[in-house]
């Protein structure tokens, strides 16, 4: 039994968006909340969860990362970054059908944000090649 004690429960992470060195879609990840309005509590919690999910993904724990990104979406369904990250991990797990759904949702939430265009386009291109 995996003994990752306390993994789900407590994260004390910075709320800013950390770089994502392994990603080939983008060298850094802009915030999904482009407006200058302060984050709501749910948004803050969701951003923290996305960071936690990224940590898991960086360690190759894609299933765990997917769980955490889904939690992030449950807490704040408007978190486009969480959808994008979920699309990335689903794609890496070979679930391209699911990944498409998440990418499209990420596009509808982040598409207006020029900082996200490259990452979204790169993932779309990658998935297009893999789509059966």
């Amino acid at each position: 039994m995996n003994k990752q004690i306390g993994f789900f429960f407590i994260i004390v992470l910075m709320m800013g968006c950390a770089p994502h060195p392994k990603s080939k879609h983008s060298s850094s990840f802009p915030s999904s909340h482009s407006s200058s309005a302060p984050l709501t509590p749910a948004q803050s919690a969701s951003v923290a969860l996305v960071e936690q999910g990224r940590e898991a993904a960086l360690s190759g724990r894609y299933d765990q990362a997917a769980d955490i990104f889904q939690e992030a979406i449950s807490v704040d369904p408007s978190n486009g970054v969480a959808y994008y990250e979920l699309a990335v991990v689903r794609s890496r797990s070979g679930d391209y059908g699911d990944a498409w759904g998440f990418l499209e949702k990420a596009e509808s939430l982040l598409g207006h944000n020029p900082q996200w265009q490259d990452s979204l386009n790169a993932l779309r291109q990658e998935l297009s090649q893999k789509k059966p």
């Binding site: 429960f9 509590p41 919690a45 979406i73 509808s108």
Partner: protein
């Protein structure tokens, strides 16, 4: 001699085959979703208090010191979180403090590290178990997980020479025989733990001489093949500890949970002695039913332990003085039964019932038990109220015994996660799950798909349509005529699409459906996820075909979800009892329409609640952002409401199973249930609008997708 040899051989075979193979059928357990907490979340201490009680946390007045305890203050709760084995890994509980400001979490602090916590999860709640016919609830534990004090207490009171005899205890037997002879019948037990195990395991409980002989020989054989530790472990997992409703509580682990809300490893000496004392007669020594006798019996066990040198005088005195704090006994034995059936039905293909009832699997689901309870109460209360207040329904009940039925299903629109699922009024009376198995006409609840088709073709909310009577062929293969009528029997002339839907006009909607193309309306509905048979007949526009309620829920998810449809999701993980994840499901979404179209639909359906056929929701005290559509079918056979806030979508239906008329419209039958549910389960809905795409503009007070606005 040969006969005796054969007899022993058969007994030996029975023992080995049963003991080494599958000893017990373990029920599979179905869990709710975990519950996220974070600073800023709207939740009151009372809500958390209720949740913690359902999770079998124990309220203490002194500072928390062990997993499973919590302390409630006026504006804070200290919780020592339980350990929990999640599908992705084990969590070890730690103490946290949650501080509140009014009904909002202000801060969460880890009391060990004194650091602030950004997100926290309360573990999933056990919704129910899938039992075999014996209905035994049992969690297997190894001897190492069981405190020595508990094993010793059981040995002390049930079989003090357990570690020295060979399966039977001649001294005890002699004493029992003497008593039996005095009474001229079998009254005294005198059984060793091994004999009790054999009796529970292999033999019926009737006291006969033949059974006694079998029991003795089998006990000796068992002791030859297995160690004392193996036998004791089996005994402690097998032994019966009373009833929880129809379910037998068996084994020390389940008993520790039922009586003390603790894992067996956390039991104190006093609690161990109390449980050991119950074995003789769980009903008679139940701390719930007979606290005084249970208390006396505990003290007797403690005394025996002291006399047998298992504990010293200090431990004895301390344990004797320990106050017995019991878990709050729950009177609700079955929770969300329709949902459990639904989950079981989905698992059927991969996991036959025999496996689910015996392998002790853990099934993690999306259900929110708080929302579920609210849903069950809202549905039950309103149906009873209708049957009291509406003469026709009252008459049906009193004269024909006909019960009004209903359902409520709620999902998180963005993920499709089913949060509440009530398939009918009473599972005891009818197990028919109306959420997934009822095929009913959606009536006007289907109309949004006609309007969506029109908007997708370039119509706007300001476009006009004639609400003026007309007659068409009922269908392509018939010469029969069809003439739609409005509910109020009034024709409204030229109306905007917005007004036509808000007021649920039948004539205008039918005309619009024919104008945009009935085939196209069917295509829209198919894309939305309605799979039931639909024919492109004019009456389709008024929902005169059958759907299942869950289909309709799926179809509506795309509106609050910016045009993306979510598949209803109930099962998240299936895990073996050893923690191996057999199944892992994530939510599935698919983009169906543009966010702009979804936004226009949201605006349209908001109008239904703010001004239209569901405006009574506001007078019933529902505030905040919401959109939805009533549905009433011909002759008032079905009463629907499908409505949503940005985060939660709920569908309610009221009707008779035999499809006879109820006289209820969507607004009078289904809507009040939706309102009651959403008022309590949809808390925290303080958003002012659904996410608005940039391409939406306002011209002359109406919304348009840029480029479709009218030009001078």
């Amino acid at each position: 001699m040969v006969v005796l040899g054969l007899y022993l051989f058969i007994l030996d075979y029975q023992i080995k085959s049963k003991f080494e193979a599958h000893r017990w059928n373990l029920p599979s357990r179905v869990y709710s979703d975990s519950y996220p907490l974070y600073p800023g979340k709207n939740i009151s201490p009372a809500d958390i208090d209720r949740k913690l009680k359902r999770l079998h946390y124990k309220k203490v007045l002194i500072p928390i010191k062990a997993p499973g305890e919590f302390q409630l203050g006026s504006a804070e709760i200290n919780i020592f979180l339980h350990n929990f084995s999640y599908p992705s890994g084990d969590f070890t509980g730690f103490p946290v403090r949650i501080e509140f400001e009014k009904n909002t979490v202000r801060v969460i602090q880890n009391l060990e590290t004194h650091e602030d916590v950004k997100t926290l999860k309360l573990e999933p709640e056990l919704i129910g178990s899938i039992f075999d016919d014996k209905m035994e609830d049992r969690t297997l534990v190894t001897l190492t997980e069981i405190p020595d004090e508990l094993s010793q207490a059981v040995v002390a009171v049930e079989d003090e020479r357990f570690f020295s005899h060979h399966g039977i205890d001649p001294i005890s037997i002699a004493r029992a025989l003497l008593v039996d002879m005095i009474h001229l019948r079998a009254v005294q037990g005198g059984s060793t733990l091994t004999q009790q195990l054999i009796k529970n395991y292999f033999l019926h409980s009737r006291k006969t001489l033949v059974r006694k002989f079998n029991e003795m020989f089998m006990s000796i054989l068992l002791e030859i093949h297995y160690t004392k530790e193996e036998i004791l472990e089996a005994y402690l997992n097998e032994v019966y500890f009373g009833q929880r409703g129809p379910v037998s509580v068996t084994g020390v682990a389940e008993a520790a949970r039922m009586y003390f809300s603790k894992e067996v490893s956390q039991l104190s000496l006093s609690e161990s002695a109390l449980l050991a004392g119950m074995i003789r007669s769980p009903g008679e020594y139940s701390p719930y039913k007979n606290p005084a006798r249970s208390h006396e019996r505990r003290n007797l066990v403690l005394r025996l332990m002291k006399e047998q040198g298992m504990i010293d005088a200090g431990d004895y005195e301390k344990a004797r003085k320990e106050k017995i704090i019991l878990a709050e006994s729950s009177h609700k034995f079955v929770q969300a039964p329709f949902f459990i059936d639904f989950v079981q039905a989905q698992l059927k293909a991969d996991y036959p019932n025999s496996i689910l009832k015996s392998e002790g699997m853990r099934i993690f689901t999306t259900l929110d038990l708080e929302a579920q309870e609210i849903a069950e109460t809202a549905l039950g209360n309103h149906l009873s109220k209708l049957e009291k207040e509406k003469p026709k329904l009252k008459k049906n009940l009193n004269e024909s015994g006909k019960n009004l039925e209903g359902l409520l299903v709620a999902v998180q629109s963005q993920t499709g996660a089913i949060r509440a699922f009530v398939g009918g009024r009473s599972f005891e009376k009818s197990q028919f799950d109306r959420v997934t198995e009822a095929h009913r006409q959606p009536g006007s609840a289907f109309k949004p798909f006609v309007y969506l088709t029109a908007l997708a073709q370039g119509h706007t909310l300001a476009s006009t349509i004639e609400d003026k009577s007309f007659t068409v062929n009922e269908g392509p293969l018939t010469s029969k005529n069809w003439t739609p009528e409005n509910y109020d029997k009034v024709e409204h002339g030229t109306v905007t699409l917005r007004r036509a839907l808000e007021e649920s006009m039948n004539i205008a909607t039918s005309r619009l459906g024919i104008e945009v193309g009935l085939d196209h309306v069917v295509e829209t509905a198919r894309a939305a996820g309605i799979e039931s048979p639909m024919e492109p007949y004019p009456s389709l526009c008024l929902g005169s075909f059958e759907v299942t309620p869950l289909e309709l829920v799926r179809a509506y998810t795309m509106f609050p979800n910016q045009g993306t449809r979510s598949e209803p999701l109930s099962i998240l993980n299936v895990v073996t009892r050893d923690g191996v994840v057999l199944e892992k499901k994530s939510f599935q979404i698919k983009k169906i329409i543009s966010p702009e179209l979804a936004y226009l639909m949201n605006s349209l359906l908001r109008g239904v609640i703010d001004r239209g056929t569901a405006a009574s929701a506001r007078t019933m005290g529902f505030h905040g952002l919401a959109a939805g559509k009533t549905g009433t079918t011909s002759d008032y056979r079905d009463s629907w409401f499908v409505g949503y806030t940005p985060d939660l979508l709920a569908l309610t239906w009221v009707g008779y199973d035999d499809n006879s008329p109820t006289g209820l419209s969507g607004a009078s039958g289904a809507l009040p249930i939706w309102v009651e549910f959403m008022k309590r389960a949809g808390l925290g809905n303080e958003k002012e609008d659904f996410p608005k795409p940039e391409n939406i503009i306002i011209v002359d007070g109406e919304l348009f997708i840029r480029g479709t606005e009218p030009h001078e």
